[in-house]
């Protein structure tokens, strides 16, 4: 896919995110929107997957360790053809398979149930280790939040991944700098994130996580990195794409009301139209 196609796809995914969260009247738009470009690149360019065969044995796997941004993952999976985009409107509704946090038992394309912060990276490490032991070529991706890495288990997992030289593992830290209680630097700073992962034996790449040139280059570099896992520290904008949500901690876990939803969709529509004129 060209960058332009990726951008158009990401705009559709952002519409899906906002629509799902609006319909649920709850959920986490901020971090879903910041990671939307990474989701897009992974599922439309990087990963070896088959939406018609979600459990394909040798597929690449993704663990959404920051599971609260399920709307981002679901909108991407729907856009990729795992299930109807229309179903996004059932997010968090009683009886819907689209649970508030990823549920591998009921959602096609979800490789691991997640949501309790700090746990997903360990699971991704287990998948990567299994791949090494079985001599499989599949790769494993884990997306964590920058607030999430305050959890100690992340560093247990990082230590193990570095120790075992799991070069089939890529950790993407969605570094949007905000968590529920405010800026991560005010709450309990995890910086320097890159140096921490380096110290744990990772190859580290710092990028602008809302720029497809940089995202593409980073995943290429990760793929060529041997003998150590890769950590991509992706600087992103929380709420990216919706003017009033950008860089606002308040939009971490809040749904837009009808009026806000209309404005958000209009902004995304205009962004999409602008892309079409490129």
């Amino acid at each position: 896919m060209t960058n332009l196609d990726l951008e158009k796809t990401a705009a559709c995914i952002r519409k899906g995110i906002v629509t799902a969260v609006h319909s649920a009247a709850s959920g986490h738009p901020g971090g879903s929107l910041s990671a939307a470009d990474i989701f897009t690149y992974l599922y439309f360019e990087e990963m070896n997957i088959d939406p018609k065969n979600p459990k394909m044995e040798d597929r690449d796997r993704l663990v959404l360790s920051k599971g609260h941004v399920a709307p981002g993952l679901y909108a991407t999976l729907a856009q990729r053809g795992y299930f109807p985009v229309e179903d996004l409107k059932s997010l968090r509704h009683t009886g819907s398979y689209l649970q508030g946090h990823p549920d591998m038992k009921h959602i096609p394309g979800v490789d691991m149930s997640s949501g309790s912060l700090g746990q997903g990276l360990s699971v991704a490490v287990g998948m990567a280790l299994a791949g090494k032991m079985k001599k499989k070529d599949y790769r494993v991706y884990a997306i964590t939040g920058d607030g999430e890495i305050q959890e100690g288990q992340i560093w247990e997992a990082a230590m193990f991944a570095g120790h075992r030289k799991l070069d089939n593992l890529v950790v993407i830290v969605d570094n949007n700098n905000l968590q529920i209680d405010g800026a991560i630097t005010d709450v309990c700073s995890p910086y320097p994130i890159d140096k921490k992962f380096e110290a744990f034996g990772f190859h580290v790449i710092n990028i602008d996580g809302n720029n497809f040139d940089e995202i593409r280059a980073a995943f290429k570099e990760a793929g060529q990195t041997k003998g150590m896992p890769t950590a991509i520290i992706a600087k992103t904008v929380k709420g990216k794409g919706i003017s009033f949500m950008e860089n606002q901690a308040g939009w971490h876990g809040k749904a837009p009301n009808d009026e806000e939803y209309a404005i958000a969709m209009e902004e995304l529509k205009k962004a999409g139209e602008a892309l079409c004129q490129k």
């Binding site: 549920d103 746990q119 360990s122 193990f160």
Partner: protein
């Protein structure tokens, strides 16, 4: 009297893993720096490539096992009960229980029979914790033979299983040709008509000893081995309680949330019966030789005998 063979069930765990590991290539064992104590060192020696030492990081080990299970492995996580069920409770619940992954938890050093290490390492709460997780099977074997059978049954069962093993060598009591292990099926070891003693783990042997002594007092006790706390054998619990009309539970675990609670839940719904729960009361353990502690907390044959006698009178 001939010398009774004694083996710690943690030892049975290690041996069973080797045995099954020879047949099943997808069995892997994970440890958190306790391979010597959990007896998975035996497996490590035999299958070094299928033994993964995660270091002192139980939460991570639990997650790694979950990830490996999604790729076709059947991981056995091994550490002390305190850390398997206690430290990693939420990882077990959310990363294994909720997605119902095929991970087995081999928890050794359960209960006060840990001995000298004392209260910090004596987990009397694990059955209660694990029983709460939907879909989790909880097994507390009574001796070497049952422990080995339980490990195999756990391997064959599709879904999470919590296996509880002890540090102390305990008498082999199931050494007979009719012995058969089935998850969720209690075993009547001695029939009786005056009182039922439902026992689990190392208390099964004590319950049998107590029943022998009770005979001398004219009390005919039925002894039932409940090796599977969840799913509990409701039918057998109701049947035996209805027959004897008096029920005692005996476990090396807190009286809150373990076998006693599980039996009380069944009976209060289906056949209300007067009950006495023998176990660790609502207290922490302490340091001391295991045998002395078991006696001090009234969980040996003599302790069970005294309590049952007082209860039946």
């Amino acid at each position: 009297m001939p010398e009774v063979k004694k083996i710690a069930t943690r030892e049975s765990y290690g041996n069973a893993l080797v045995e099954i590991g020879k047949e099943k290539e997808n069995l892997v064992v994970l440890d958190a720096d306790l391979a010597a104590a959990t007896k998975t060192g035996i497996f490590k020696k035999e299958f070094p490539d299928r033994h993964i030492d995660c270091g002192i990081a139980e939460a991570n080990m639990t997650g790694i096992a979950a990830g490996m299970s999604t790729c076709g492995y059947v991981p056995f996580i091994s550490t002390f009960a305190m850390f398997a069920a206690g430290r990693s409770f939420e990882q077990v619940r959310n990363s294994i229980g909720y997605p119902h992954l095929n991970v087995k938890i081999g928890a050794t050093h359960a209960g006060i029979s840990v001995g000298e290490d004392g209260a910090t390492h004596q987990c009397n709460e694990d059955i209660a914790l694990m029983r709460e997780i939907p879909g989790m099977v909880v097994i507390n074997p009574s001796d070497d033979i049952e422990a080995k059978a339980a490990v195999r049954a756990a391997y064959e069962h599709n879904g999470p299983v919590y296996l509880r093993f002890g540090r102390l060598a305990v008498p082999v009591i199931n050494d007979n040709t009719e012995y058969k292990f089935e998850i969720g099926k209690g075993v009547v070891l001695k029939e009786g008509k005056d009182v039922t003693i439902f026992a689990t783990g190392l208390c099964v042997c004590g319950a049998l000893e107590a029943a022998e002594k009770l005979k001398e007092d004219g009390i005919d006790a039925e002894v039932v081995n409940i090796h599977t706390i969840k799913p509990i054998d409701r039918e057998l619990v109701v049947k035996s309680a209805t027959k004897t009309g008096k029920v005692v539970t005996a476990e090396e675990h807190s009286i809150l949330g373990g076998l006693g609670s599980a039996v009380a839940e069944v009976l209060s719904e289906e056949a209300p019966t007067k009950m006495l729960r023998i176990g660790v009361q609502d207290v922490f353990g302490e340091s001391g030789p295991a045998k002395e502690l078991i006696a001090k907390y009234g969980l040996d044959g003599a302790g069970i005998y005294e309590k049952v006698k007082g209860f039946v009178k």
